[in-house]
Symmetry: C2
Subunit: 215 residues, 2 copies
């Protein structure tokens, strides 16, 4: 297809598409004459992914360029790339700044032991978790850490489903794109479900019928 | 304690404390003389909660005022307030704008049926979920919805742990504060754990040992 058609299909203006090509985010079209290039389904798909990373993912163009470079790197095994892509797409949200407390770090290490996880000192996700627990402590809710094992089991369940989904995609490019999308959308999916499940559980615990508002 | 001591303990400047009092976020201190007020542990705790909602929670002062008004409202049963507080603290993050597709809405409704959840048409969390699924569709990953049941089971596990935690707090104020904190910090905790669990699961699925980097 021509660039105008690509623009029409994706809703991305032509100058923006040209900008993404210049920035190396989108491969150039195939030249059919000195002034004319043609674009394929791969371009359309990549363009939608870029827009989604900008919008839903809230990622910067520089971050997107890094991620796409990893996705397009065929020299490394897919397993290595998955970790890199997942870590870059969904960098832990800051929750509490400053150093985690020794207590919070010890809790994270103990949780890792109990689950058989490899979370060495300085692991970025382990540190982010310790900072969140430190914030809970600071608020007088150090007891919130009792929920960690249940949260960890739930995280394992979600990770199994994620991996099973991306594995089923088969082709290498699709797998990595699946990781990007799963990391971006998975937190939003879980956030919505968590709120629904809490309302259900609160209704149960506090003695209200599951279909409370039909009473 | 005097306002200077409250400021020192919490790291919040005196003028900021006075501003919170004027805005009604923090109760005024008890007057011990016409020009002198004294503050208690309750003030310190409330002040930390306000700062955490501003920082970690990323909430506006107006939103915080709403939440605290609910927390302080003793005229309603705690169950009613919990839902209100939870919904206000953790409004679903936008993932994909515009109308959800009919297909996505049907998937959310079917999930609700399967789980025995009450998610009527127009339910804000149900709509947010449908918008996220619509974004997945737009990216050619409508199949991502196969993960929904696993995510939902995980969400139920987390919700049980959350409720069990806040119930254990006993006193009404503590329960509602626990809901605020759990909603704010719980998503961050789960996000970190999800990434750790994914790395573990990827290591397992792709044939790398659980302690891969010790190989």
């Amino acid at each position: 297809m021509r660039i105008g058609e690509l623009s029409r299909r994706t809703g991305v203006p032509v100058p923006t598409i040209k900008f993404y090509v210049r920035e190396g985010l989108l491969p150039a079209g195939e030249l059919t004459s000195p002034n004319q290039a043609t674009y394929g389904d791969g371009h359309e798909r990549r363009l939608r992914l870029i827009r989604s990373m900008l919008g839903v993912g809230g990622l910067s163009l520089a971050r997107i360029a890094e991620i796409l470079a990893v996705v397009d790197d065929t020299s490394q095994p897919v397993f290595e790339l998955m970790g890199e892509v997942a870590g870059t797409v969904a960098a832990p949200r800051p929750a509490g700044s400053g150093e985690p407390s020794a207590r919070a770090r010890a809790e994270v290490a103990a949780l890792g032991e109990r689950r058989g996880w490899h979370v060495p000192a300085g692991h970025p996700d382990g540190e982010a978790l310790a900072r969140t627990l430190t914030e809970a402590e600071r608020l007088g809710h150090e007891g919130f850490a009792v929920t960690l094992d249940a949260y960890a089991q739930a995280a394992e369940r979600v990770a199994e489903a994620d991996l099973s989904y991306v594995r089923g995609l088969g082709a290498r490019d699709d797998v990595l794109e699946g990781v990007v999308i799963g990391m971006m959308l998975g937190d939003a999916v879980f956030g919505s479900l968590r709120r629904i499940a809490q309302a259900e559980e609160a209704g149960r615990v506090y003695g209200r019928g599951r279909r409370g508002d039909e009473e």
